[in-house]
């Protein structure tokens, strides 16, 4: 059991990258926004997408429009009915303009301070303690695994939905990481609990450890204001806290259950 504990603890504390927000988008305190097109062009709209990293121009008008200009190597012509999405360094300035035909797209970068991460860390610790207490009973462990896994899956889906211009499935795959293994194992834990198998606690501990590994890169969600998540930022922070804290609690609680119950043979 000591070898198992050592491997499990090392896996948990050293963690590993497997999950965060999809599409390479990261939490931050600043967000670039389009404020308008001056003067307006009939049918043409513009918006910052992908967490303010790309400018998207939709041409719903009847004539082509040219976007770019300035020091860009080449302008791009957007035909009627087309959408063009691109990165432009100019959109990182506090007040910015990008030429669009005879008009300009105007925008600004808003900076919002992030929350105090201490509160979210305390919530995470509280959830870890709660997860550990679930180790008193096999059924509670399985229920905890399902809840924590659901939180992790929700976070992955929400972050994939926040990306514009990519296919959902590859984005979700990228965001899920070890979830590809942890999610099915969560179902295994539930089935094992229903059948009263001693493996329940072992699977719960492994899934918990995996989800901590999965959640480590998401610590940034606690300290930045703007999160690439399709939903309220605080909901995402709660999901991250559940993944990290709940996962840690389940790993500890599951192992404690194994230690207390001992070998079955």
């Amino acid at each position: 059991m000591r070898a198992l504990l050592a491997a499990l603890v090392l896996l948990t504390v050293t963690a590993g990258p497997a999950h965060a927000h999809a599409g390479g988008l990261t939490p931050q305190d600043h967000l670039s926004r389009v404020t308008g097109i001056a003067p307006p062009l009939p049918g043409v709209t513009a918006a910052m997408v992908n967490h303010g990293s790309q400018l998207e121009v939709r041409n719903g008008g009847d004539v082509p429009v040219t976007v770019g200009g300035g020091d860009r190597a080449a302008d791009h012509v957007i035909g009627p009915g087309e959408t063009y999405r691109f990165r432009d360094e100019r959109t990182t300035a506090s007040q910015w303009e990008v030429p669009l035909d005879r008009s300009v797209i105007e925008g600004r970068v808003d900076v919002t301070p992030g929350p105090n991460p201490l509160w979210w860390l305390l919530i995470t610790v509280a959830l870890a303690a709660g997860g550990y207490l679930l180790g008193r009973r096999r059924a509670l462990l399985a229920a905890g695994v399902v809840v924590v896994t659901a939180a992790h899956a929700w976070h992955a889906v929400g972050s994939a939905l926040a990306v514009t211009g990519g296919s959902f499935v590859p984005l979700l795959l990228g965001a899920s990481g070890v979830g590809l293994v942890a999610w099915p194992l969560s179902a295994v834990a539930a089935v094992a609990a229903v059948r009263r198998r001693p493996a329940t606690a072992f699977v719960a501990a492994v899934v918990g450890a995996m989800l901590v590994v999965a959640g480590i890169p998401d610590f940034d969600s606690f300290r930045f204001s703007q999160l690439p998540f399709a939903g309220p930022a605080d909901l995402d922070r709660l999901l991250v806290a559940l993944t990290l804290g709940g996962g840690l609690g389940l790993a500890a609680g599951g192992f404690d259950y194994l230690r207390r119950t001992g070998p079955t043979t």
Partner: protein, 356 residues
């Protein structure tokens, strides 16, 4: 007991060796290597993405997800094996099967290197060229991955009762050996001859004699040396320990080519077919020569003949594929001889004299 009969005898699950540590049974090793296959394919998909997907901006890609989920699955399985042994009353190191110790150490090492790789990609950037092969975090990842993947090989190697395994019995160890060879070759990608297309082979060894510009001739010549050593040394080690079953060399060639074609974006198919043909020829050599530590002469002949055949077929495949020979005859006729000499040298180093 004849060697052939020994091949059919598997150790029962959880059987004890002279210490209290159990030896993993066949099915355990097979599951380990199949999960290792998932793990390895993830790495090669990631390598393909690094080489072929422009503007790879994110650490969180589907390819990384396959790679890291493969690691998670393999790690969970190895922990399950430890837990199962614990349930049977084994404690501490006694719960770790023979040969699995390095894998247990490598699991957290890999996870730690994964964190390091995430931080490296975040703060220093994502490698898309030769730098990918020299990134310190990648080198720790690959080392720990090799330690994890080779567990089934160590299981079989440590079982002195197995001398002449059947192909089925050898499969977990053979796949472990093949993936390890593939990983080592992947990290020598700057000198990997398997990714050359037939057209590139012909062009590399076609140059004006005496001219300063020899183009890719030096690159291909160096690649033949490096690739030859990476592919022949595992075979030379394996035939020292086992009387390899027919198909073992073909399996190694097939796995290495399956993965090298992915890295080459499937443009080196004719070259890959040539290596698989060479694998069959090497299997015939193993069958006929029966090389081993005790048969040093045959061992050295095997080393030279296997490498010569591999590179003769390599150039023959390119010539057939392109319908022409390279213009510098010395290069394509000399390269297989050079490879054979290097292999014989390796054989001499590995088995300096017959066991008395």
């Amino acid at each position: 007991m004849t060697p052939g009969r020994e091949a059919e005898v598997d150790e029962p699950a959880g059987s004890l060796t002279t210490s209290r540590r159990p030896r993993a049974d066949y099915r355990t090793d097979l599951v380990t290597v199949l999960l290792g296959t998932w793990f390895s394919i993830g790495l090669f998909l990631d390598a393909w993405a690094h080489s072929n997907v422009p503007e790879l901006e994110s650490f969180f890609t589907p390819w990384h997800a396959v790679f890291y989920s493969g690691f998670a699955a393999t790690g969970a399985w190895i922990l399950w094996v430890l837990w199962r042994n614990h349930q049977q009353g084994l404690r501490g190191l006694d719960a770790v099967p023979v040969g699995y110790g390095p894998a247990v150490v490598a699991l957290p090492l890999f996870a730690a290197a994964g964190v390091g790789d995430y931080l490296w990609h975040t703060f220093i950037g994502i490698e898309q060229g030769i730098d990918i092969l020299f990134s310190p975090t990648h080198l720790v990842l690959i080392t720990s991955m090799v330690l994890i993947l080779t567990a089934p090989l160590r299981t079989l190697w440590s079982d002195r009762g197995v001398v002449s395994p059947s192909l089925k019995r050898f499969l977990p160890a053979g796949l472990a050996l093949s993936f390890t060879t593939s990983l080592v070759l992947l990290f020598a990608g700057y000198a990997d001859a398997t990714v050359f297309t037939g057209e590139q082979v012909i062009r590399a060894f076609s140059f004006e004699k005496g001219a300063n510009g020899i183009g890719r001739a030096a690159e291909l010549a160096a690649s033949v040396v490096v690739t030859n050593l990476i592919m022949i040394v595992p075979l030379l080690l394996a035939v020292r320990r086992f009387r390899l079953p027919f198909g073992a060399a073909t399996l190694l060639a097939f796995v290495v080519m399956l993965l090298s074609t992915a890295v080459a974006d499937y443009e080196n198919i004719s070259t890959a077919i040539g290596f698989i043909v060479s694998g069959v020829l090497i299997d015939v050599l193993v069958l006929k020569l029966r090389p081993s530590e005790d048969r040093v002469k045959e061992y050295r002949i095997f080393a030279g003949a296997a490498s010569f055949a591999t590179w003769a077929v390599f150039f023959a495949t390119a010539i057939i594929d392109q319908g022409t020979t390279p213009s510098v005859t010395e290069m394509w006729t000399g390269a297989p001889v050079m490879a054979a000499l290097h292999a014989v040298l390796m054989a001499v180093v590995l088995v300096p004299t017959a066991r008395r």
